[in-house]
C-alpha cells in the first residue's frame, strides 16, 4: 500500500491524467469518466490528479517532518542516555513539557506563531516529533547502557561517545525505524489536519486535508469529492502502520524467533 502511494507520488511528478491546477468552470462536478477518472470538483479540477499531486505533498511534508524529529530527537536521546545527570534531566523535562500539549494543538500553536504555510506546518510537525524520538531513544538506550557488553566495552577502554555510536545506536536502530514509520503516518494525518484547518499547505497547491475541507461544504451536492481524499488519507495511514508492524517483525529478532 505504501509502495502504491510512493508510485503515485513518483508518477505525479511527471504525469497526471489531467492537471491538478487548471480551473475549468464549465467542467465542474463531472462524474467519473475516461478523461476525469474520479470526476472534477467545484472548480472543474481533476480530482485524481489533485489526489496524486497531494500524495507528493503529504509524503514530502512527512519525510521532512519525521527527519527533523528523528535527527534532533535521536541525538538528544542518545546524549541524555550517555551523559545522565543534569543533561538527561533537562532534556527529559523539556520533552515532558512539550508532551503536555496535545500534538495537534501544539502544531496549531506553532503555525499560529509562525504563520500558516507548507514549510511552517512541516516545522510544527517536526518539532512535535522531536520529544517522541528523544524519549524513545533515551529509554531504549538506557536499557542498552545497562547491558553487560557495554560494561565490557567500557572495560576495554572505550569512551562514552564511541560506545554510543558503536554499541548503543546499532542495538536500538530497529526500534527507531519502526517508530519512524508510525510517526510518518501520524505526520501525514497531522499535515492533513493542519491543511484542513487552513494552516498547512496553501492554495493552489493540492493537499488531501484542504480537499476534504473544500468538499465538506459540498457534502450533499457531491459526496464523492470528500470520500476520495478521505480514502487516500486512510489508505496511507493504514499502509504505513502495516509497514511499521511488518518492519518490527523483520527487525526484531525476538519477535520473529517466536514464530
Amino acid at each position: 500500500m505504501t509502495g502504491f502511494l510512493l508510485v503515485c507520488a513518483a508518477v505525479s511528478l511527471f504525469w497526471t491524467p489531467g492537471s491538478a491546477y487548471d480551473i475549468s468552470i464549465a467542467n465542474r462536478f463531472l462524474p467519473s469518466s475516461g478523461t476525469h477518472w474520479l470526476g472534477t470538483d467545484q472548480f472543474g479540477r481533476d480530482i485524481i490528479s489533485m489526489l496524486m499531486t497531494g500524495t507528493q505533498n503529504s509524503i514530502a511534508v512527512a519525510v521532512v517532518a519525521v527527519s527533523i524529529g528523528l535527527v534532533a530527537g535521536v541525538n538528544l536521546g542518545l546524549l541524555a542516555a550517555a551523559k545522565r545527570g543534569w543533561t538527561e534531566e533537562i532534556i527529559m523535562r523539556l520533552s515532558d513539557f512539550s508532551f503536555a500539549f496535545p500534538a495537534i494543538l501544539s502544531a496549531i500553536m506553532i503555525t499560529a506563531i509562525l504563520g500558516p504555510g507548507g514549510v511552517n506546518s512541516i516545522l510544527a510537525i517536526g518539532l512535535y516529533n522531536i520529544p517522541v524520538f528523544a524519549r524513545l531513544t533515551r529509554g531504549t538506550a538506557n536499557a542498552i547502557w545497562a547491558r553487560e557488553f557495554v560494561m565490557a566495552s567500557r572495560a576495554a577502554g572505550k569512551g562514552r561517545f564511541r560506545i554510543t555510536f558503536e554499541h548503543i545506536l546499532p542495538n536500538i536502530l530497529s526500534i527507531i525505524i519502526v517508530q519512524a514509520t508510525i510517526l510518518f503516518a501520524i505526520a501525514i494525518l497531522a499535515e492533513a489536519a493542519l491543511s484542513y484547518l487552513g494552516l498547512g499547505t496553501q492554495p493552489p497547491h493540492p493537499s488531501w486535508g484542504r480537499m476534504l475541507n473544500e468538499a465538506q461544504a459540498l457534502m450533499f451536492l457531491d459526496p464523492m469529492q470528500a470520500i476520495y481524499p478521505g480514502l487516500a488519507i486512510a489508505t496511507a495511514v493504514f499502509g504505513l502502520n502495516l509497514l511499521g508492524d511488518g518492519l518490527r517483525d523483520v527487525l526484531d529478532p525476538r519477535l520473529s524467533r517466536k514464530r
Binding site: 545522565r84 545527570g85 547491558r147 553487560e148 557488553f149 560494561m151 565490557a152 566495552s153 567500557r154 572495560a155 576495554a156 577502554g157 572505550k158 569512551g159 564511541r162 558503536e166 554499541h167 546499532p170 542495538n171
Partner: protein
C-alpha cells in the same frame, strides 16, 4: 616490583535507602606476575572492588583511598586517561559470557576493537592479530569464526572470546570477576586452565574473584577473604588452609561439599545472612553469625593482625578460633 597497591580503599554507594558501604578500608598489593584470589559470598564487596580498580563504578558512588597502579594513582586520573588504561594496561573478564558481547557485531569486529583503539593497528593487521588471539584461546577455525555473531557461539566459546578480547593488548593486570560461574563444570576447568596458562606466559598479574574457595585455591598464589565489604583474612594460598583462622573463612571452608561425603550427611552452612551494607553493625560485621562472638565483638572492629608470615586475620578471638576446626565451630 609492586604493580598494584591499594590503600584504605572505600566505596560508598548512594542508594534510595541511604549510603551503602560496599567496600571498607581495603588494603592489598599485588606484585608483577602474582595472582590474587578474592573470595566471599554475594554482596561482600568483591565485584565492587574490581569495578573500583577499573574505575567503572556506577556514577552514584564515592571512592576513597588510593589505588596505585604502576605508581600512578588511578583515582586521580581523568576519564579519558582511564579509557587509555582500560583494555590496554588493565583488562577485565565478566561473569556472563552470554551477554558480555554485543549481539549486533561480529566476534571478529569486537576482538579487533581494542587493537585498533589502543594499538592503532590497520584493519589487515588487526584481522591477523585477532585470528592469532582466537587461536591462542583455543577457538577452532579462528579465521572462520571472525565472521560469526555471538549467538552462533556456545557459552564457553564466548568466554574464550572475552578472554581473547581482554588479552588483546597484553595488559599488566587481568581482573576476572567470576569468569566461570555461568559455565558448566567441565568448561569451568578448561577456562580456568586457559586463564592460568595465558597469565603465566604473558607474566601478567591476575585478580581472580569467585565465591568458590576451590576455584580460588587452585588458581592463585594469595587469597583474600572478604566479608561485609572488608578483608577478614588474607594469606598465601599454600599455607592458607592450614592456617585457616577467621570463623567466617572456616565457615566457607566447611560449607564446601567434600569428596566421599556420605549421602546422608548434610552440607554445613553458616547460619544467618550477610549484613545490610546500609546499616552496618558496629564492631565486627560477622558478630551475629559467629559462634565465638562476645560482647567485645559487637563493640569494636578487630584490626587485621599478623598470624604467621603474610597471613593476617581480623578477629578478636584469634587463639580460640585457631584451635577449633571448622566442623566444631559450626556443629
Amino acid at each position: 616490583m609492586t604493580l598494584l597497591n591499594v590503600t584504605d580503599l572505600s566505596v560508598t554507594l548512594s542508594t534510595a535507602d541511604g549510603a551503602a558501604r560496599a567496600v571498607r578500608d581495603l588494603n592489598f598489593s599485588l606484585e608483577k606476575g602474582q595472582t590474587l584470589g578474592i573470595v566471599g559470598e554475594s554482596g561482600c564487596g568483591k565485584s565492587m572492588t574490581a569495578l573500583a580498580l577499573m574505575g567503572l563504578l556506577p556514577e552514584k558512588s564515592k571512592t576513597d583511598g588510593t589505588i596505585k597502579f604502576n605508581n600512578e594513582d588511578l583515582l586521580q586520573k581523568s576519564e579519558a586517561e582511564m579509557c587509555n588504561l582500560r583494555g590496554n594496561r588493565m583488562a577485565m573478564i565478566f561473569q556472563e559470557p552470554m551477554t558480555s558481547l554485543n549481539p549486533v557485531h561480529t566476534v571478529g569486529r569486537q576482538v579487533m576493537e581494542p587493537l585498533r583503539l589502543h594499538k592503532n593497528m590497520s584493519k589487515a593487521d588487526a584481522v591477523a592479530e585477532a585470528i592469532k588471539l582466537l587461536d591462542r584461546v583455543g577457538i577452532p577455525n579462528a579465521s572462520e569464526r571472525l565472521g560469526n555473531y555471538p549467538h552462533q557461539l556456545s557459552g564457553g566459546q564466548r568466554q574464550r572470546v572475552m578472554i581473547a578480547l581482554a588479552l588483546s593488548c597484553a595488559p599488566d593486570i587481568l581482573i576476572a570477576d567470576e569468569p566461570t560461574t555461568a559455565l558448566d563444570v567441565t568448561i569451568q576447568d578448561q577456562i580456568l586452565e586457559l586463564i592460568q596458562s595465558l597469565v603465566r606466559e604473558e607474566g601478567m598479574s591476575l585478580i581472580l574473584i569467585s565465591h568458590d574457595l576451590g576455584v580460588i585455591s587452585e588458581n592463585t598464589e594469595r587469597i583474600m577473604v572478604m566479608y561485609g565489604g572488608a578483608a577478614v583474612e588474607t594469606g598465601p594460598t599454600e599455607t592458607f588452609f592450614d592456617a585457616l583462622t577467621h570463623p567466617y573463612s572456616q565457615g566457607l571452608f566447611a560449607a564446601m561439599p567434600k569428596l566421599g561425603m556420605g549421602r546422608t550427611s548434610r552440607l554445613m552452612t553458616i547460619p544467618g545472612v550477610v549484613p545490610d551494607l546500609i546499616n552496618l553493625p558496629t564492631g565486627c560485621t560477622f558478630t551475629d553469625r559467629c559462634p565465638l562472638a562476645t560482647a567485645e565483638c559487637a563493640k569494636t572492629t578487630p584490626p587485621l593482625r599478623q598470624l604467621t608470615a603474610g597471613h593476617q586475620v581480623a578477629c578478636h578471638h584469634l587463639e580460640e578460633a585457631r584451635e577449633k576446626r571448622p566442623e566444631e565451630l559450626f556443629a
